[in-house]
């Protein structure tokens, strides 16, 4: 155990030096490190949100919203397909998770089935091959009834796409809040995790991502009012929408919009020139401008409705054709809400509503306090451990203490390289690792003492101490590692930080206790042997 091949000594020394090199940037300010030559490592330990301050928001996407949207568009597609094929139908509507339609002529059912199967899209891709279809078209209980039903796999792909689109949109909206390095990632099946370092007031962030901001322009029903439609039943193809302005007021609007918000190319907050109220001015893209122009041309003197997230913002009367492709939206905005809505319109609508299911925000002052408290505890705890082993084991204790310092340096180096964030529980994990790393040394040295008492020669005792203790060390560290892995899997934010430092610490502490300390002891033995033939173990 005490013989080290030359290459091993070199490898161990190199590992320690590399660790030192990678931990080095943390001793300097960010500006200094950026001025360093390229070949020097420049990655610093990244601090978790609880230390640097910032917001952690977990958003949950409304999957039912995605399903409903899909069914709505399937219904529209069904209508268009059947009309184009000149197949008569009745009772087209969304029912129990599928689109139901009745074909008027029994002899056209087969033709309709063939036509509607044209809507089916295969899933999967060229590499993985087909993974089934996104929807199924089946005959219903009655001979004339056809049902279009989304498949489970189709729904999964829809949700995945919707999450992807939501992440893009959320990122675009967040980017308007500043240049901080916010991260937006998918978590689990229907969740999005937003981490925004440095942000303290989350009100605007939440206002920006709290609305889907789906804007559309609708035709208002010519003769039936909203109230009448609510009292009876809306005619097919029309839907009753509540007003965003007046409590209780409703409008009867055509379901299929004239133009949608995705046809906007720009939206800016501004002020109405006459009333001086905050408004939003917008511009359509070319096709949007053409469609909207044609619509206003044909409907001069009649109202149209501007709908945001199913609520009617306003229903102005068209005084003259709007051909320029730009317009404005009014509707009792505040300066702030107009600004937020403009951002939302510019960055696009969310495919489904996002709800905040978890929020953890730490202000910068608490973060700074935590850093201070954490480093103080780290220094005091670390020094206490060093003094303890130094006192208990003399020269060998110093070797162990050096091993502990190298251990801490290595943990910092590994975390800097991996980009793992240091959290407050992470600091606790680091301190605890050092406390527990002492255990490895204690096991070895106590064993050496015991072997000496049993009358073994010093060299044999040292050798036996390391050999025997290593198995016990491995046993004890492996079980702690198992717990740390479970914690990582369990954990959100801070707990993960604890698990990460603990796991890294387990590997580095085994390395330092078993290898670095052993090397130091071996070198000591070699230096002593030169001087005298009798070795007294200073332990």
């Amino acid at each position: 155990m005490l013989h080290f091949a030359r290459w091993k000594i070199v490898a161990i020394t190199l590992t320690c030096l590399l660790g030192l090199l990678f931990a080095l940037p943390n001793l300097f300010s960010k500006e200094t490190v950026q001025g360093w030559p390229d070949w020097l490592p420049s990655r610093q330990l990244s601090l978790g949100l609880d230390l640097r301050g910032g917001a952690h928001l977990l958003l949950s996407m409304d999957v039912d919203d995605v399903r409903k949207d899909w069914l709505d568009s399937l219904r529209d597609d069904t209508r268009r397909r059947l009309r184009d094929a000149r197949i008569g139908f009745t009772g087209l509507g969304v029912q129990g998770g599928g689109v139901h339609v009745r074909i008027a002529q029994p002899d056209q059912v087969d033709a309709a089935l063939k036509e509607l199967r044209g809507l089916v899209q295969p899933l999967g891709n060229a590499i993985l091959g087909s993974a089934g279809d996104d929807i199924e078209v089946q005959r219903g209980a009655e001979p004339s009834l056809l049902i279009l039903q989304p498949t489970e796999a189709g729904m999964q792909q829809r949700v995945t796409n919707a999450i992807g689109a939501s992440i893009e949109t959320v990122r675009r909206r967040i980017d308007t809040l500043g240049t901080a390095e916010a991260t937006v990632v998918r978590q689990g099946w229907d969740r999005i995790l937003v981490q925004f370092p440095g942000l303290q007031d989350t009100a605007q962030l939440k206002a920006l991502i709290g609305e889907t901001a789906r804007l559309s322009f609708h035709d208002v029903h010519h003769s039936i009012t909203g109230e009448e439609a609510r009292a009876s039943r809306p005619p097919p193809g029309y839907r009753v929408h509540p007003s965003a302005e007046q409590e209780g007021a409703v409008y009867l609007l055509r379901e299929t919009p004239v133009v949608r918000g995705d046809q906007l190319v720009d939206a800016q907050p501004g002020f109405d020139q006459r009333t001086n109220e905050p408004i939003i001015t917008f511009r359509f893209n070319q096709s949007g401008a053409r469609t909207f122009g044609r619509f206003t041309q044909e409907n001069v003197g009649r109202p149209f409705a501007i709908v945001l997230d199913d609520k009617v913002l306003s229903a102005p009367v068209i005084r003259e054709p709007i051909l320029g492709g730009s317009g404005q939206i009014s509707g009792s905005f505040t300066v702030e809400s107009a600004n937020n809505l403009a951002i939302q319109l510019r960055s696009g609508a969310l495919p489904a509503k996002l709800t905040i299911v978890e929020e953890r925000t730490v202000g910068p002052s608490l973060g700074a306090d935590s850093i201070e408290a954490g480093s103080r505890a780290f220094i005091v705890g670390g020094v206490a451990s060093l003094v303890m082993v130094g006192l208990a084991y003399g020269t060998f204790g110093l070797f162990a203490a050096l091993g502990l310092v190298i251990n801490a340096v290595l943990v910092v180096a590994v975390m800097s390289v991996l980009g793992a964030a240091l959290t407050l529980p992470g600091i606790a994990g680091l301190v605890l690792t050092i406390g527990m790393a002492v255990d490895a040394n204690v096991l070895i040295y106590e064993r050496i003492r015991e072997e000496l008492r049993n009358g073994k020669s010093p060299i044999a005792a040292i050798d036996a101490g390391f050999t025997r203790a290593i198995i016990t060390i491995a046993d004890s560290q492996l079980t702690t590692l198992a717990a740390a892995i479970v914690m990582f899997w369990l954990g959100s934010g801070p707990i993960r930080g604890f698990a990460v430092t603990l796991s890294i610490g387990i590997f580095t502490s085994v390395f330092t206790a078993v290898t670095v300390t052993r090397l130091l002891v071996a070198l000591w033995v070699r230096s002593i042997r030169h001087k005298s033939r009798t070795v007294e173990v200073p332990i």
């Binding site: 925000t361 003399g394 606790a428 717990a483």
Partner: protein, 319 residues
């Protein structure tokens, strides 16, 4: 080249403390403590934090002078948010507000915090906000429970694999004892029990099994060495032989945790408290529960089939 000085050997090495003489008392005491903990858990319950119960925590700091708790209590009491706990947090100008979970799903929690922030006005700076909605708290409860159970099983499987089943039984009982007692103390004093405490419990499991493994290792070694020794005597010997290590490691870890407890800040105080308790309980359990149980479950004494036994029999005869 190297400084040469001898260490202080703090602990006497030839202790012959008859631990096994206390085993009946200790096992009974532990069993009663475990039963009491279980009883507390089921009657008094745990003071679950927002992670597991849902709801919100707001930590605020007064901008000028010490915070007026009575005033805050008055202004928040009228908001109709149900149970609102207000307490000083670490310093006189720091307060922690806990709002119970609001009916009406995830969005309702957000509204409640908005109301509180508005009611507090400009006199306070927000230091921390934690809002956990009903969906997430439910999930965290499940994963928290699974995590503890899975770690227990992983550790037990490992011990079973490395030692004989008798050791695994001792470990199961010792670990369950540690978890139960820590939970019991949290229930008794109604300390806030959140995700961090579960992490602490897992660390305690790791530490306690570490202790148990060291003692078990030595027991196994001595079983091979001293074939004729009476089992209780052998267990005593093994515990005594590892006692200096148990105490030195325990004291170091405890000292480090004390530093964290007093200097690490209010946010992780409960977390370190749980670990301090766990280290004490874990050290106790590996000496007074895991080892004595071996005396009851009986253990394989005949190792003549294994290759090591021949070598060690020589040592045994010397002893």
């Amino acid at each position: 080249m190297f400084p040469n000085f001898k260490g202080f050997d703090f602990f006497p090495h030839d202790t012959r403390i008859p631990f096994m003489r206390f085993k009946a008392i200790c096992l009974w005491a532990s069993m009663i403590a475990m039963a009491l903990s279980l009883g507390l858990f089921f009657t008094r319950g745990l003071n679950y934090g927002v992670d597991f119960k849902g709801g919100s925590i707001i930590e605020v700091q007064s901008k000028s002078g010490p915070a007026d708790l009575a005033d805050v209590r008055r202004s928040l009491g009228s908001l109709g948010l149900g149970d609102v706990q207000i307490q000083e947090f670490g310093a006189a100008n720091d307060i922690l507000i806990r709002i119970e979970q609001q009916p009406g799903g995830d969005q309702a929690q957000q509204e409640a915090v908005k109301k509180v922030t508005a009611a507090l006005g400009d006199d306070y700076v927000q230091r921390r906000v934690e809002i956990v909605g009903p969906t997430v708290s439910g999930e965290l409860r499940t994963t928290g429970t699974i995590a503890v159970v899975v770690s227990l099983f992983a550790i037990i499987l490992y011990v079973w694999f490395r030692f004989e089943w008798q050791f695994a039984v001792g470990t199961i009982v010792a670990l369950s004892h540690d978890v139960l007692l820590t939970v019991g103390i949290f229930s008794l004093f109604q300390l806030s029990f959140d995700l961090a405490i579960v992490a602490a419990l897992l660390t305690i499991l790791g530490y306690s099994v570490n202790d148990t493994v060291v003692v078990s290792d030595r027991i196994r070694e001595n079983l091979r060495k001293f074939k004729k020794m009476e089992l209780n005597e052998l267990l005593d010997l093994s515990i005594n032989e590892t006692l200096s290590r148990t105490i030195l490691t325990g004291v170091t870890t405890f000292a480090v945790l004390l530093a964290l407890f007093f200097l690490g800040g209010e946010v992780i105080r409960n977390f370190t408290l749980a670990m301090l308790l766990g280290i004490l309980i874990g050290t106790y359990s590996s000496i007074f529960i895991a080892a004595p149980l071996l005396g009851y479950t009986g253990i394989k004494r005949d190792w003549s089939g294994t290759e090591k036994s021949k070598k060690s029999s020589a040592v045994a005869s010397r002893a």
